[in-house]
């Protein structure tokens, strides 16, 4: 005979498994002294082109590598591999985001101690990636000048969970009548105080500022890892 229904308290985070795995990844990254940057944006914002440029330039002074997520193709990995940096594709199939387990699996066989910086390019999607911690140190959100200045207001969660924003394709800003101040206002509305870079991977404009920012973040993180600063590389 069945009894009356009753309510029992359980309290369990739905993404607990992912959070635990992300935490253990973060610990591994710290121990290995590798600074991890993830990239999120909508499809077509230019983050692969931006990353290819970033890898090419950083490779001259750091040991860099990248993981790149995509639903079906390996095209992005092939493009990023032109930078000569080690690159691995994570093909997610029908899954619209990366999670910590996919990252962990993709890293198998890589000696993290031989890396200074690891980039993780998420699947082009402004919604789902925001829920998943990948163990990264820094999450960068990208939007291009063609996407509309109010993009951050349409996708507040992804902007709010990111640490820094990059506005891409700034070389065509004038042609598409991009309003930089309006975009900045939208970003500040959903993430007050967020640092914003404007850049063009095509012309190189603004890239150096972003790289300097990455280096300074990495260097201060390294001091936290080891208690002493690493040698400052020449920019």
């Amino acid at each position: 005979m069945s009894t009356e229904p009753r309510l029992v308290e359980v309290r369990q985070k739905v993404l607990k498994q992912n959070d635990l795995l992300a935490r253990s990844l973060r610990k591994r990254f710290r121990e290995a002294g590798v600074y991890v940057v993830s990239l999120v944006s909508s499809p077509g914002s230019g983050k692969t082109t931006f990353l290819e440029k970033t890898l090419t330039l950083l490779r001259e002074r750091y040991r860099v590598a990248a993981l790149v997520g995509d639903l079906a193709t390996e095209n992005d990995a092939a493009r990023l591999a032109r930078s000569q940096a080690p690159v691995r594709q994570i093909t997610t199939g029908t899954i619209c985001h990366l999670d910590a387990e996919m990252v962990e699996r993709a890293l198998e066989g890589w000696e993290l101690r031989e890396l200074d910086l690891l980039f993780i390019e998420n699947v082009g999607n402004m919604v789902c990636p925001s829920s998943y911690d990948l163990g990264e140190d820094l999450r960068v959100v990208f939007m291009s000048v063609t996407e509309g200045e109010d993009k951050p207001l349409k996708y507040p969660t992804i902007f709010n969970t990111s640490d820094v924003a990059v506005i891409t394709k700034i070389d065509i800003a004038e042609a598409v009548e991009f309003d930089s101040q309006a975009a900045s206002r939208s970003i500040q509305a959903v993430r007050p105080g967020m640092q914003v870079f404007e850049a063009s991977a095509k012309t190189g404009e603004g890239i150096e500022e972003f790289l300097q920012f990455l280096e300074s973040r990495r260097n201060s993180a390294s001091r936290d890892f080891t208690g002493e600063p690493i040698a400052q590389c020449r920019v």
Binding site: R6, L7, V8, Q12, L15, C96, C128, T161, A189
Partner: protein, 114 residues
């Protein structure tokens, strides 16, 4: 649309509890923050699909929506946001990025029957 994988995780978790306690689960109560990145309607739809063929089939997902609360450094108080399009104090308008509540995505209770 990652709600299906979220729903599958919820069902998996609840099934384990059902097995462990040897009970039937009528409903799963979930706290869902406005900043969780999960859409309530999509999750409810996915939940029914995720339950099919499991011992959770026929159960309900009860969602308690959690508003976003930020800390205002000027008022030195926690304030509920009027809109997640505007992260500022609802009293003095000071912009603030300090989220105190709103990222919740957690199962808080199970309605069980022996």
């Amino acid at each position: 649309m990652h709600e299906l994988s979220i729903a599958l995780s919820i069902v998996e978790m609840a099934e384990e509890e059902a097995r462990r306690r040897d009970v039937q689960i009528n409903a799963v109560h979930l706290r869902l923050g406005a900043l969780s990145g999960v859409v309530k309607e999509a999750l409810l739809f996915s939940y029914d699909l995720a339950c099919e063929g499991t011992r959770l089939e026929g159960s309900h997902l009860v969602i308690d929506e959690v508003p976003t609360v930020v800390y205002c450094p000027v008022c030195e108080s926690e304030r509920q946001l009027d809109s997640i399009q505007q992260f500022c104090c609802s009293v003095c308008d000071t912009p603030t990025p300090h989220v105190m509540q709103g990222r919740e995505l957690e199962v808080v209770a199970l309605e069980i029957q022996q």
